[in-house]
Symmetry: D2
Subunit: 342 residues, 4 copies
């Protein structure tokens, strides 16, 4: 069998570990071969490919990023290029295509599957917002880095009697904020799922200082929004994919908070450091198992599916179901933070 792989969307720790696992499983367990397309869908559209064999993937388990490179490709390019992609897959003799990516990449994968291309998806997202799988690799690394850094910020905030807001990744889902907030002992966690009320935030901050504490740490998802009518937020507009642009919500919340409470507020935007570098052991294991089971599924001809973590086992779910909606933080999980707030 000849397997094609590509990595789409943003960088994510564990992508290289998936590539290594696919190659080792294909070669060692099945005597199959693997070809990689560079820079996401672009490599498939433009026939930019490289051999992926065991010497190439040697040492990739611990390396962040993706040796295939990645690019965000607008969806209409794929639809216009269906014929072209089929030609490239045929030219390389690809029997199964394994796209590794987030919502955008998997939506394209589901569509390709509906067009009859033999596809098995592998979910990848820092934000953990893909439906149908308990977790995605990269998420534990992101939470782990954010937690380490927030641990460091505690002492500075305490020494200077400050409010410190930390903006973490999460445009549509607050999983990173939820877990990094719980793990770092944040006094306040704000996610996209539950619009915040600036007056409540002020009350919480003031009450905490009134009780004699010397600092407040708040974790804020980049996609957080104020309750309508409570606080103006400068609008970042839409990008070329129709996504709302980053507005620097934590910075704006911090300015308003300082103005209203008179407390010194500082904002730190963690940014890209959350998505780079070597994966945690958890993510290395999950990425390796995703790659292993995707290669097995390819050899078993179970196309149109996505590998997924269910409890402790790796299973398969229909790609179409996985991309039907984003997996956001349910109210029951948000409610778990109340005992640790304030």
């Amino acid at each position: 069998m000849h397997i094609g792989v590509l990595t789409g969307g943003g960088d994510c720790p564990g992508l290289n570990a998936v590539l290594r696992a696919v190659v080792r499983t294909a070669e060692k367990e099945y005597g199959s071969t693997v070809v990689g397309f560079r820079n996401g869908w672009r490599g498939l559209l433009e026939d930019d490919a490289m051999v992926l064999d065991r010497p190439v993937v040697n040492g990739l388990l611990t390396r962040g990023g993706t040796v295939l490179g990645s690019a965000r490709v607008a969806p209409q390019k794929l639809r216009d290029g269906l014929g072209r992609m089929r030609e490239v897959l045929d030219a390389h003799g690809v029997d199964a295509l394994l796209p590794i990516g987030g919502e955008g990449t998997l939506t394209a994968a589901a569509w390709l599957a509906s067009e009859g291309v033999p596809v098995i998806g592998i979910p990848k997202t820092i934000d953990n917002d893909i439906h149908g799988t308990d977790l995605t690799f990269g998420f534990d690394t992101a939470v782990s880095i954010a937690t380490d850094l927030i641990d460091r910020l505690h002492t500075t905030a305490e020494s200077h009697q400050r409010v410190l807001l930390v903006e973490v990744m999460g445009r549509h889902a607050g999983w990173i904020a939820l877990n990094a907030g719980l793990a770092s002992g944040a006094h306040l966690t704000i996610t996209p799922e539950e619009p915040f009320d600036i007056e409540e935030v002020c009350r919480l901050v003031t009450a905490r200082f009134d009780r004699g504490h010397r600092h407040v740490i708040g974790v804020v998802s980049e996609g957080a929004t104020p309750k309508p009518g409570t606080m103006p937020l400068r609008d970042g507009g839409l990008d070329e994919f129709g996504h709302r642009r980053f507005t620097g919500v934590a910075q704006q919340l911090g300015e308003e908070l300082e103005r209203r409470t008179g407390k010194e507020v500082r904002t730190t935007v963690l940014g890209h450091v959350q998505r780079g570098g070597t994966p945690t052991s958890f993510d290395r294991v999950l990425a390796t198992r995703f790659g292993l089971h995707a290669a097995i599924a390819a050899h078993e001809g179970r196309f149109g599916q996505m590998v997924a973590l269910h409890g402790t086992e790796i299973g398969l779910v229909p790609l179409a179901d996985a991309v039907a909606e984003l997996k956001t933080v349910p109210k029951t999980r948000l409610a778990e933070t109340t005992a640790f707030t304030g």
Copy 2:
């Protein structure tokens, strides 16, 4: 309500985080209070107790160990002391007892529950060998530390063309070896579940050097054993609880391997560093959620149960079921390592 807690068995990252979560939930959500018994069951037998309130648990989220102290108490002491323990619980007005511990502690908890004591168990084990829960806190930290250290050992082994055996924790279950082996790219993983054949190990090592590689990394559970009749193993005898003593199996395997293959072999025993220090963000979240849900279950009167992770949710399982047998690594999971062996 007045809640009693104690921590039994070996040290484990996340114990303090559980204590903090129980206290915050009890005080903040229910207006309840918490008392801690020192040094495991001994504190309950000897009425050695301390108040656990929010000032006491402040800052405990990130600290390894347990402020309550721990001790291994022989089971017959509990059975003889049932009346005494009831008196101590009554004297403190304890309405619910939350023992946090591994197999030994939870077995005692199940027995106390069967005697009518209002108990809710919280599972704790580095080894991840408690039935009924997907994972236990402390395990991710142990795997993470082991993986970091094995990452470091790779370069030394490679520079000196050596076989390096790393002994990790796991007396009866190979979960740490399985995950640390997958996460660190070990070429060989040996667990208690599958006795090893010294001749197969020699073949694998020799074959790898013959293919031109410069080193071999093997991860070995402390509870690994050779197939009967294949290699003698010095017997460590039994300890006072009837457990087989540590035999230094990796060291003995290494000596035999060096003798048979002529390759330079070094052995590293990771030991106690796997169970100390600050928990990973994963374990902080899991420990916090266990403490939160145990406190909720106490207030709902759901006694005789143990909190457990199922997928992404925290549920309850009967204590008696949880301790009926150890959770070992199933054959399907061991089979997942073959693509990465050699």
Copy 3:
């Protein structure tokens, strides 16, 4: 003897370790006692003090921040308050005052010494810009954190073929940028000591991509400035101490670079995470030795001096010399980066 201590200026890993070392040395070696003034000079002006004894400093070795708190106090307040400070010192029976701080704090200390107050200074600065000592504690931690984070950014930049600019601390001296740049394999390092030429930066970036590389990492001190007339920089004005405000130079350089070269450029501002959390082992040792030797010097009556690292030994230098000018990166050290640039 009765020793007074205070911590001034910004937070810095190792401050607590100094406090612990002063207390242990004073109590254990001399039978002396220690009092701490809260929030820098303010505690001395307002008689806000706390006992520092061994139970209080227990466990402080590894904790970032300062249990005394810190504050920036405008120098004129000190000059107006000389009589008041003498009264407070007398009221507490302080025989030696040990201020721990950076340029501002040590300048005040030198002036107090010139007024006859028995002072011994302890240098503290993330930026490593204090004259008379090879290094200051906190610097190694800051470089270490910055390096870890830049390591993580490499893979993201490479996966997406980007220029990545990382702004690190250093208002007047480029030591953090110099060392973090060397340690992380940056392709470009920009310090305050050598104004940058935007055209040269563009040439270097373009040439590197032309040679087939996939990314450029540039490390930029927050105090970097363009050569006059080469690139406009929005002016942040002066703060209340007459210091130039932070201008976001890396962000502005990035925008200009993207405009001129057409390459995708992203900027990350590391910010406060560089100054928080547990110190590196190097900084724990240096801070401990500074505290130890400052306490010894106090008992030997060597006032008006500052403890300093010279090679491997801790010595003393006159406070007046130490604050005469900032220690910036000499041209010979900047020249060491050229072999690693581009």
Copy 4:
């Protein structure tokens, strides 16, 4: 110019960073070329060489170990092989040889220099025991790893009321024990420079528990020895180079301590993890500067010298002086630990 390099003795974080710096400096600053001999002196005796150019050293800055491999070669082999080595150097057209290693390698280098071979030494030792330089790379990484692990062991010891002895590297010099002990807040530090008295150790341990503390952490150099006549130590004999073998001194001290005090004692031997993996930022900078200045010295023809750190500058010292004696911990530095003992 054509430069030869080799790496001798044990593995050490920073070796690869030196190789990278030599190559970049030679190629970029001088247009020179570099050849590497494999497995220490053996590669020079057996003409086993590889080209070292910029693509080969790309990415080596952060990698532990040495891509050249290393081996311990008995000194008489060198003396017998002088003619052979000259032939190999001539055959490769080597104008300057840069051996990177510890006492053994540098002693051989000094002797080669005395025979007229154009040699510049680069000191490398985890143990920091090379005379003539303030510090060697690898040492900071070793101390840093040991400190992180001892941090983790504190909580376990405290939870179980134990004495914990940690054996760290250092056969002849106690620098790692000294610094890791200071950095981790050890209550007891035992180095080879000052033979220990078992009775004093017992007194210290007992006194600490008597004062109400719950644990004792002791850091012990592998080369520590008891005062003559105070405690028997099983003799490990001599190895083939005439070095005393590792005796497991911490384990033996621990057994004796437990027997005499009745306290529970556990021993952890950190072992090889101290010398592997990515170097700290401090060691990356030092290794890079050593490589840079060795390449400069080679082009300036300053043979028979060794690069060395003096304060903040890299200088040169005669190889013969550097290897005249080992650099052990002076009494004044050992005395600095007394305020932190017990």
